[in-house]
């Protein structure tokens, strides 16, 4: 039956040619490893976020007077509403975590180097956008946590000279966080950012198709890959393994492992994305004693506290992030094996340790 359907489609739209070009004939490096499947895992996570987000929108009301009650209704009255909401909340955290892992593997395997600078830049932009969509979604439940986290987050922009106060008012839609802020953030969260993220993912995949997949620097003699081409050249892998079925099965294995971890959090650690303030309705007249951001913003949060002025803290972070974003244009050495780049490896490990230390410090402070 399936064969007949395939034949029927092939005769009309040439499915066989597409399968040959994009699946069975799409060859990948023989030494490709599991880390390369994180991109596929991220695509699945994003799709799940979109689906759960759409389902939540059926009952969620983006109105300051009704938002909290509508989320409570979803969690308690809607059949499997708790599951959909938990999947969405846990998924947003997992998306950031897997995205960081994906970027770290790219960093350590030197896959950001020429000719893949734009792949890195689009990936870095996606990290910023994913953090942006997480932040805007944070306000949606209109809880004490949402309200006050958004108040201090938007307030940080006031440290920017000259335009800071105007920017804060623009973000909030008024002097203070209130109903107009919820409208703005919800529009960004549900309409603008998903479309922008989907477009940047499209650009990221397009760039991947045009440059070809980079070969891992492990398990071979020459690990330096100088980029000296005078004209466009697709980096193919003759004699490599086909994407389908070989690597598609690796993708499926990685996606299954991801789901095992994800579901374990959803069912056995459902409080992971929340603090007690997340279940108290927003009260502009009652400031909680300690407002902590999500784990992936803790290092930023602590950095702002270390420096005597908020502007200095913001500037240091801007410099660090700009350096990271421009890395492929700064690090031009062709060597890609991390063990043959001791200075780079030391810097990466030091950077990771610093980030972890700042995050732990931010959590405990």
């Amino acid at each position: 039956m399936l064969k007949r359907l395939y034949r029927w489609l092939d005769l009309r739209i040439g499915v066989g040619e597409i399968v040959e070009k994009e699946l069975t004939g799409y060859l990948l490096p023989r030494n490709i490893n599991e880390w390369y499947s994180l991109g596929s895992v991220l695509l699945v996570i994003f799709a799940l976020q979109v689906i759960t987000g759409m389902l939540l929108m059926i009952y969620y009301v983006p109105d300051a007077d009704k938002a909290f009650k509508s989320v409570t209704f979803i969690m308690n009255e809607v059949p499997y509403g708790w599951l959909i909401r938990l999947c969405h909340a846990v998924g947003s955290n997992m998306m950031v975590a897997v995205l960081i892992l994906h970027m770290l593997s790219t960093l350590l395997m030197g896959s950001y180097k020429a000719p893949r600078e734009l792949n890195w830049v689009t990936g870095f932009t996606l990290l910023a956008l994913v953090q942006g969509i997480s932040l805007t979604g944070y306000l949606a439940p209109w809880s004490q946590l949402s309200f006050w986290a958004t108040t201090v987050a938007t307030n940080s922009a006031s440290a920017i000279p000259v335009v800071g106060p105007y920017l804060v008012e623009f973000l909030r839609g008024g002097k203070l966080v209130g109903p107009p802020t919820l409208g703005r953030f919800f529009a960004l969260h549900a309409a603008v950012l998903p479309v922008v993220i989907a477009a940047v993912i499209g650009a990221h995949l397009f760039l991947l198709k045009r440059t070809g997949v980079s070969a891992p620097p492990f398990g071979r003699e020459g690990t330096a890959t100088p980029f000296e081409a005078q004209q466009y050249h697709y980096q193919g892998h003759p004699g490599g393994i086909p994407f389908f079925p070989n690597y598609a099965l690796q993708d499926l294995a990685s996606i299954s492992i991801y789901f095992a971890v994800f579901l374990a959090v959803v069912f056995f650690w459902p409080g992971m994305p929340f603090t007690p303030d997340a279940f108290v309705p927003a009260d502009p007249f009652k400031t909680p004693a300690h407002i902590k951001p999500e784990w992936y913003f803790l290092a930023n949060y602590q950095t702002l506290k270390i420096f005597p002025s908020e502007l200095l803290g913001l500037s240091v972070q801007a410099a660090a992030m700009t350096f990271l974003a421009l890395l492929p244009f700064i690090d031009r050495s062709p060597e890609r094996h991390p063990l043959k780049r001791p200075v780079f490896l030391t810097l990466v490990i030091a950077g990771i340790l610093l980030w972890i230390a700042l995050s732990v410090w931010g959590h405990l402070s």
């Binding site: 990290l127 942006g132 294995a253």
Partner: protein, 266 residues
């Protein structure tokens, strides 16, 4: 040109990354009463030390909550013009506390303790303390405290009748709080418990043993309904965990299956 544009995009991306960073947490400022008396020695500073471990301090009720005055203006904090009341005389203490605890005040006045006010009977601070005000609990009904004025026999009978109910209330309160921080709608149950707890607290100033026993039994019945509702939620959460365990196990098996299939192609 392309490089300049790329640089601009990167700078914007890094700014977007920075936007969500949060500022330092907001701390509640102390009142001028605490700031000044907290540094004073002996009689003038002692109330602050006692207050710090009180139920009032835990709930953000500072000196001005009882004594009046202006907690923001050190120079005029203790002037009658700013509503400063000072310390009440002994017979005025129940009325002083009763401004915020009117229900308890009413219960106290109708009890044997209240009827003896001004004639050697106890006031609120006799049992609850004045600055180190302790939470109303059965621990306050103890031999050491009660035998200051009378024998402990009747007080013991009342405490024993209420002991089980208090434990029941504490247990249900803890379970509701646990569910509340996991997204369960506990509003109705919380209100119901609040009402039951208030009813229970009216017994604290009652010295009629038979009435205390009868009321405690009726309250236990109400608590039983809440207990049943909570057990139902607990069972549904247990079912969720079983389903979650099966789903996680299935995913692990699926991962193993795909891994083995991939190996067969290598």
């Amino acid at each position: 040109m392309i490089r300049k544009n790329t640089l601009a995009i990167l700078l914007l991306a890094s700014l977007a990354f920075l936007k969500p960073a949060l500022a330092a947490p907001v701390e509640q400022p102390e009142t001028v009463c605490i700031q000044c008396h907290g540094t004073l020695p002996d009689r003038l500073g002692a109330p602050v030390k006692l207050w710090r471990s009180s139920i009032h301090a835990d709930n953000g009720i500072s000196c001005n909550g009882c004594h009046g005055g202006d907690p923001k203006d050190a120079a005029n904090a203790m002037t009658p013009q700013r509503g400063f009341l000072g310390a009440p005389k002994e017979k005025d203490i129940p009325g002083f506390c009763g401004r915020c605890h009117p229900g308890v005040y009413k219960d106290y006045l109708s009890s044997a303790h209240g009827r003896a006010l001004g004639a050697g009977g106890p006031t609120c601070v006799t049992c609850h303390g004045n600055h180190q005000v302790v939470k109303a609990s059965l621990a306050l009904i103890n031999e050491k405290s009660c035998t200051r004025c009378h024998s402990f026999d009747r007080a013991r009978a009342i405490r024993d009748a209420m002991q089980q109910t208090e434990g029941y209330i504490d247990d249900i309160s803890r379970r509701i709080a646990d569910f509340q921080v996991s997204g369960v709608d506990t509003e109705k149950m919380g209100k119901s418990l609040f009402s039951v707890r208030n009813r229970f607290h009216t017994l604290f100033h009652d010295v009629d043993v038979a009435r205390v026993k009868g009321e405690s039994a009726a309250i236990n019945k109400e608590l039983g309904k809440l207990d049943a509702a909570l057990k139902e939620i607990e069972q549904s959460h247990q079912k969720r965990r079983v389903a979650g365990g099966i789903a996680v196990g299935f995913m692990v098996l699926l991962a193993l299956l795909f891994h083995l299939m991939k190996k067969s192609y290598d």
